[in-house]
């Protein structure tokens, strides 16, 4: 096959795959040339083979649309409050063991250091103040979480409604 035929057949193939009529120059060539006429016939059959599928009844658009819309709505609405709070609290609990271990370490070190200077009752009193302050601090952080989650949700809601 010569170069002209090869290029013509490539262009004929492109036209067939783009589902358009070939350029006049290629059509003329195909009419005069047996090899390219054969290729054109083949492409014609190929198109009808591929077009068979368009006779399949289309799926009702409404059904596709409704389902997609439901999914979009679900994806847009923020996760329920309880579920989100649980997730946030779960995350916040992760470092808690380390905080407690650290606090115990500090208390042990301090009691060893002050053991010879202070009486036992003063040490106990200091220990109680230390641990209760720590407990109140941690308690306040966890108590703030529901408010933070609620605040975040209301910001998200406001930014969604135009």
């Amino acid at each position: 096959m010569n170069r002209l035929c090869e290029e013509t057949q490539d262009r004929l193939s492109d036209a067939a795959l783009d589902q358009r009529t070939p350029d006049p120059i290629d059509r003329e060539h195909a009419e005069a040339c047996d090899a390219c006429a054969q290729h054109r016939n083949f492409l014609h059959t190929l198109r009808s083979a591929l077009d068979d599928v368009s006779r399949v009844p289309a799926l009702p658009m409404r059904r596709v649309q409704d389902r997609a819309t439901r999914v979009l709505r679900a994806a847009q609405s923020p996760a329920p409050f309880g579920k989100r709070l649980l997730r946030v609290v779960g995350l916040a609990l992760l470092p808690l063991p380390f905080v407690i271990a650290y606090a115990i370490g500090i208390a042990k070190g301090a009691s060893q250091l002050l053991d010879s200077i202070l009486p036992q009752s003063a040490l106990i009193w200091l220990g109680m103040i230390y641990f209760s302050t720590l407990a109140i601090g941690i308690g306040l952080v966890y108590a703030a979480l529901p408010f933070a989650v609620a605040q975040r949700r209301s910001i998200e809601r406001n930014s969604e409604s135009p």
Binding site: D10, S13, L17, D18, Q19, H39, F42, T45, L46, S48, A49, L50, D52, V53, S54, R55, V56, A58, L59, M61, R63, V64, Q65, R67, A68, T69, V71, L72, R73, A75, Q76, E160
Partner: protein
């Protein structure tokens, strides 16, 4: 007319009307593509629904500098491939084969069988080009292969089909 990407940006913000417009634009070509890919009407319909579900669910991850069409077809193609892999018995597909319409000529039926029998890599480019009207650069995005490979696969697909039809 708003571009697909503009519509998709609106969909990401929850705009249901924009999603509706995209569904109108793409459901039919996607269905034709999936139908030929799966060779099975029921599977194609399921995959079509799943494709739109993924599009709606993933709207927020769509980047506006992407092409919607490439993105959507990549989702459809991946779903089709997954579904195909899940089918352990290949014959299941053949058993469900759509019967050819009676008006169709012998040659057409033969050629359609040959298209179905093409290796997946060749069939993908042929179907994306024909049913989705994709350019080579769009196909490189969908299939994640270089431009030159797309071109040569398309070429090979046509050549194989031509050879097959000449032998019959």
């Amino acid at each position: 007319m708003e571009s697909d990407e503009e519509l998709m940006t609106r969909v990401a913000l929850g705009d249901e009307a924009a999603l509706g417009l995209l569904v109108e634009r793409y459901t039919e070509p996607l269905q034709r593509f999936l139908q030929r890919w799966t060779r099975n009407r029921v599977d194609a319909e399921d995959l079509l629904q799943d494709t739109w579900v993924r599009i709606a669910r993933g709207a927020k991850t769509f980047r506006p500098n992407q092409r919607f069409r490439s993105w959507a077809y990549r989702i459809a193609l991946n779903l089709a491939r997954d579904a195909h892999r899940r089918r352990t018995v290949r014959e299941a597909y053949v058993a469900n084969h759509e019967t050819a319409p009676t008006r169709t000529s012998e040659d057409t039926i033969d050629l359609r069988r040959q298209v179905d029998a093409l290796p997946e890599s060749l069939r993908d480019v042929l179907l994306l080009r024909y049913y989705a009207g994709m350019t080579e650069s769009e196909m490189t995005e969908v299939l994640a292969i270089p431009n030159g490979t797309v071109k040569s696969r398309l070429h090979t697909a046509i050549r194989r089909l031509r050879e097959g039809s000449d032998h019959e």
